[in-house]
Amino acid sequence: MTEYIPANFPFLAAALLIGIAFYIILFRRNLIKLIMGIAMLSSGVNLFIVALGYRIGANAPIYTDVPPGPMVLSVPQALTLTSIVINVAVLALMLTMIIHTYRHTGDIDSEKSRKLKG
């Protein structure tokens, strides 16, 4: 089954995710949607990095009782894990700030809830 999937399929998916994410970030005014855009951007970048280390049909990089054959590179997985944890923190902080914004202005539209201008 796996041989029918093009090897660069994950990269195309990552590019698509990043493209949609940038569209959302630039053109959507709803702040919740903005955060969803950033979450998609981080998923796209994480997918890109984890796909760099992947080899089709390779083993997991666990050194006990490993069957012969190529192994998946483990460094990108470690990087992705770190990046996911950091992004959870960033998204949580953003959401708390939106709750505060909503309490103050009664709106989560980026134009209507704006106080700072000039």
Partner: protein, 522 residues
Amino acid sequence: MEFLITNSPALIVAIPLVVAFIIPLIGRTGDKARNTFMLAAFALISFLVAILAVNIHSVGIRIYTFGATTADLAVPEHFIVPVRIIFEVDAMSMFMGIVVTTVTLAALIYSLQFLKGQPRQARFYSLMMLLYAAMMGLAFTGDMFNLFVFLEIASIAGAALAAYRTNLADAVEGGFKYIVISAISALMVLFAIGILYSEYDVLSMAAIAHFIQYTHLDMIALGLLGGAFVIKLAGVPLHMWAPDTYTVAPAGSTPMILAASYMSMYALYRVTFTIYGGFIDTTAIGWAVIIVGLLSMFVGVMMAVHQTDIKRMMAYHAISQGGYMLLGVGVGLAVLADPVALRAFGQAAMEGGIFHLINHVFYKALLFMTAEAIFLRIGTRDTNKMGGLARNMKWTAGFFIIGALAIAGIPPFNGFASKLLIYESVLKFNPVLAIIAMFVSLVTLASFAKVFYSAFTGAPMPAYKQVKEVPKSLIIGMSILAVLCIFFGLFPGLIVNNIVAPATNALINHAGYVNAVMGAVP
């Protein structure tokens, strides 16, 4: 002592991280105990920074490998690339370390009485220490992925500090803008790191600089990294967040967020000089930096002139002054491949740009602190509602004058010394650039003169007759920076020779940075 010198790079980042999480615990026993503990811990950190600075001044470059048998064993036996996490401290990193440590010390002392009696102070100091640890990590890291991690820690701590006054709607908005642009730029950095890793299989900056082939993919990575750092350092046209965030950040945290944006400028220098500056012609990259610098200088000052919010005006001036640093270092970058021009004026331009960084952080931190002091006493940042404050707030008015004269480049203050260095050297590169820089400086002076007259002089407004001078800790925090502004202005030669010139040489010395890690590789 030997132990401290060897392990100081790691301890300088580790101690503030630990202190950040102990502060809320000790805060439960009382404010006094917490403040004492925090200042004692910060004194220890400052001592470590000082001994590391002395050490770097004599040895030039140091590496610290985590988990290795000896700290300088970057490439283990039977390996050809560094595999461990490395801190690489050269004179440029140390320069940024000195800037950040001084500003943090002043900001912590300033905040002590500013926040007195307010709730949730422990969280404020905790975030300050977190931001400090992240900035020192950014300065010392020798590894691209840790650059990303520290960038994110700095963003989270900075955004939480900016939005600290959650009871004000504008504070939350300023913090939210900061975290959004930080998240986007950090993900751009991560994507670029992914591209570089896919090509060279290493994360250490020195190893990437050693193996780099300057392919098209590398240029895409450079574009992503450059774009991300220009967003973070608030270079025009990507500066929208800076006025909002700087305006709302409370107490001593505005100077800290300002310093954090210059850590991104340091990261930009590190990437362009150390990773990409090896063998290719950097003229085009240098001109890109110069153009961003010019735009920042001009647009920043023009936006500042008509602001009525005092901190917002200072924030636009911060963008404008950032342009001077980019101009100076950009000229150096443009002539990096030409040894004659580099010696004739390129190195002096870089020294000017880097010297302007430390000067600007000091006087702009001082100005932000005076603005916050006024806000503490009269509760508004609108310059039209201020008047005659000099009568009752003599110290604050004095510090404002020092900061305003320094930013306008009037001798004998520090801004004059670095701006003169930039004018002289840029004039030899391209006279038009120097003339624009001088014009911007004049507009800066006009803008600050206007604010000084409307806020401090004249008859005291009836509403502010009873306004008192700010508490002592605020004055001590501001006077640290004011004294440094005057000292740097009176003895610029001393500072340039001892900390600025080594930093410039460290940036230019591409081979030195690479060989410190890759030395054993044939």
